[in-house]
């Protein structure tokens, strides 16, 4: 063993873990759990210290999880930890509105879960419960190592594996690198993967409210000229608000004190939930679309927003990320069972083929929906009202929209089939 080539090769074959995941948000831990089930070892590197993420109080952030996402979380042993804190979405009402008119537009879409056999089409869940459940589930897995408060300085990929150098000087070696580090993914940038995207000219204002009257599990989406407003039911008499405005308006509203902020929100909202009050913090998210031109490279795959940061118009961001998790875990598991090198290019290409069309079409669909509805042109308003009336009047068409909202369409990963 005094051949230098041989020593180099052997040194390259000692792995800290089979899979190195950069990003400890939601999709990264979900993929860690899914691949650990296959018997692969995983290290999750998260730039944020765990303490900064572990919030006990409700901070106002929540997710609309499609039924398919709930099934995936069930298969990963996460759903049982959060079920009691979730709110089923029994109905979705979509209407066209103007500020001050509230939900009273004569044309609206009404999706009721009773029209499909699988049950509620989605569940609302606060961010803090999902993060805590993922962290607990990871801690119970010997195959998963979490390195928090560690930033990645550089990455190197070769024929035998990948190396990550961390800010602390520590070097990690694995077979496959996963970028789960969000829409500004450093993992993708370091690999030279370019992105395509554009700004929507809108910012989402996000908060939670308490209201006097019950929501009965109904989610509302109003298409307002400045941008869509979503009212999503949380447990109790609380709802999550996602309110999109032009960048300038949003900045102005964001600068207001709480009471004046609520005064701006109330007329957009109507009075169907009675008196409303702010519950938790306020957040702003500039809306832009950013899609990675490739979601795989040699020994590298991107998931979640690192692959496709999209408009959160229908709450599809996390759901699309969890579809990536289900698809990639299935591709890696099947490859492992066949004896293939799960990080080899032919294997990763299967993941790219599976997910690329789905994410590109979803990103475009949410983009077009927003462009169509964020508009006060009277002809467009009339046309979309007619279109919504038509969808509503045809049960088969309406059911297909419900199944789409529940995440039951397309080529579902096994973990999402329930």
């Amino acid at each position: 063993m005094d051949n230098p080539d041989c020593r180099r090769i052997l040194a390259g074959m000692t792995y800290d873990s089979d899979i190195l995941i950069v990003g400890g948000g939601l999709n990264g831990p979900a993929l860690a759990l899914a691949t650990a089930q296959t018997g692969l070892s995983v290290t999750v590197v998260d730039a944020l210290p765990r303490a900064a993420q572990a919030q006990d109080d409700f901070d106002g952030r929540a997710y609309a999880l499609a039924l398919s996402s709930k099934r995936l979380l069930t298969a990963l042993g996460v759903w049982g930890r959060v079920a009691e804190y979730s709110q089923p979405m029994l109905e979705i009402k979509v209407s066209d509105g103007r500020a001050g008119e509230g939900p009273l537009s004569p044309f609206f879409l009404h999706f009721d879960h009773a029209e499909i056999e699988e049950g509620p089409m989605g569940f609302m869940l606060e961010d803090r419960f999902l993060r805590r459940a993922l962290a607990e589930a990871m801690a119970e897995q010997d195959a998963i190592t979490l390195l928090d408060g560690e930033a990645v300085v550089s990455q190197d990929r070769d024929a035998s594996g990948v190396s990550l150098t961390l800010a602390s000087g520590r070097v990690l070696r694995g077979r496959l690198l996963i970028g789960a580090d969000g829409r500004k993914s450093g993992t993708a940038q370091r690999a030279g993967i370019k992105r395509t995207g554009w700004d929507y000219g809108q910012t989402a204002l996000v908060c939670a409210i308490e209201h006097d009257l019950p929501h009965h599990g109904v989610a509302h989406q109003f298409f307002m000229p400045p941008g869509p407003l979503a009212i999503l039911p949380l447990p109790g008499n609380r709802s999550s608000i996602v309110w999109s405005e032009t960048h300038d308006n949003a900045a102005a509203f964001d600068a207001l004190p709480d009471e004046q902020y609520m005064q701006m929100l109330r007329p957009r909202f109507g009075d169907f939930l009675g008196q409303i009050r702010l519950a938790g913090k306020r957040f702003t998210y500039p809306l832009n679309l950013t899609i990675a031109n490739n979601i795989v490279a040699d020994r590298l795959a991107l998931i979640g927003d690192a692959a496709h940061g999209m408009h959160p118009i229908a709450g599809q961001g996390l759901n699309a990320g969890l579809r990536d998790v289900g698809a990639l875990a299935q591709v890696l598991t099947n490859a492992t069972r066949r004896g293939e090198d799960f990080a080899a290019a032919p294997v990763l290409e299967r993941y790219q083929q599976w997910r690329r069309f789905d994410t590109a079409s979803l990103a475009l669909a949410t983009d077009l929906t927003n462009k169509l509805f964020s508009n006060d042109n009277p002809f467009l308003r009339f046309g979309r009202d007619l279109g919504m009336g038509a969808i509503n009047a045809i049960p088969g068409l309406r059911r297909s929209f419900i199944r789409e909202a529940a995440g039951l369409t397309g080529d579902l990963p096994d973990l999402m089939r329930g």
Partner: protein
């Protein structure tokens, strides 16, 4: 590791590394094999697991099995078998493939015994295996009966022989020669000679004649819409695979 077996001139290493990269490039010259490979591996792994009662969800399920891969090429089947724990001998009559396969196995951290030899020579030397993989070879040999008899001799009693090839009919002519070689340019022209293709009935007769009992056959079917291969119980019209056992 494998250092002792890499007997190539260091000056040649770079060339073979490039060739290994080519063999293993899913979009390169061997794209059709890479597309077919998951389907072939699904069949092979399930047949071996069924015959030797192995659990494919376990670590290294094929541990303890001695396996021969005839016509191993760059190692597209030998490597997965070694990764699943089998003790693998990869044989190829084309000498140039062997250093390529060895270098890639080294990069993959796998121990595989690659040899420049033939089934007949291994049988004459008295080598014995639990499993013989005979994939896409029989349509290229001069005397299929003599070749399959050598494969039978290489098996331990009760051993498993898996053989795939291409059917001979107007559809296989259209798909494998006109389609794959001339239109898609997936394969170099002249890769296949259609008159050497073998129908499933002819192959079963040859397999029985060699002293093997056929136990299963499936088609490999390409779906041009999903652009994927899958296994079929009924459609053996172009590519197909058989499993047979040595009497014992």
């Amino acid at each position: 590791m494998q250092a002792a077996q890499t007997t190539v001139d260091p000056a040649e290493v770079a060339k073979f590394e490039a060739m290994a990269a080519e063999w293993w490039d899913p979009k390169g010259k061997f794209k059709p094999l890479h597309m077919l490979n998951p389907c072939r591996l699904d069949y092979i792994t399930r047949q071996i697991a069924g015959e030797y009662d192995r659990d494919l969800t376990a670590q290294k399920p094929f541990k303890g099995l001695r396996l021969l891969d005839i016509g191993c090429g760059g190692g597209l089947l030998s490597e997965p078998m070694a990764r699943l724990g089998a003790t693998v001998v990869g044989a190829d009559a084309a000498e140039g493939n062997l250093p390529v396969a060895r270098i890639h196995a080294e990069q993959s951290g796998l121990e595989i015994d690659y040899r420049h030899t033939t089934a007949e020579a291994l049988a004459a030397a008295g080598e014995q295996f639990d499993v013989v993989l005979n994939m896409e070879v029989v349509e290229h040999v001069a005397d299929p009966q003599a070749y399959l008899t050598a494969c039978q001799q290489l098996l331990k009693p009760g051993g498993l022989h898996i053989c795939s090839t291409i059917n001979r009919n107007s559809k296989s002519f259209a798909v494998a020669i006109v389609g794959a070689e001339f239109i898609m340019r997936w394969l170099p022209k002249g890769t296949h000679e259609w008159h050497k293709f073998i129908t499933p009935d002819e192959l079963f007769a040859l397999i029985r004649g060699a002293g093997l009992d056929p136990v299963d056959r499936k088609g490999f079917v390409f779906n041009p819409i999903s652009w994927q291969w899958s296994l079929s119980d009924r459609d053996l019209s172009v590519n197909y695979v058989t499993a047979s056992l040595k009497r014992g």
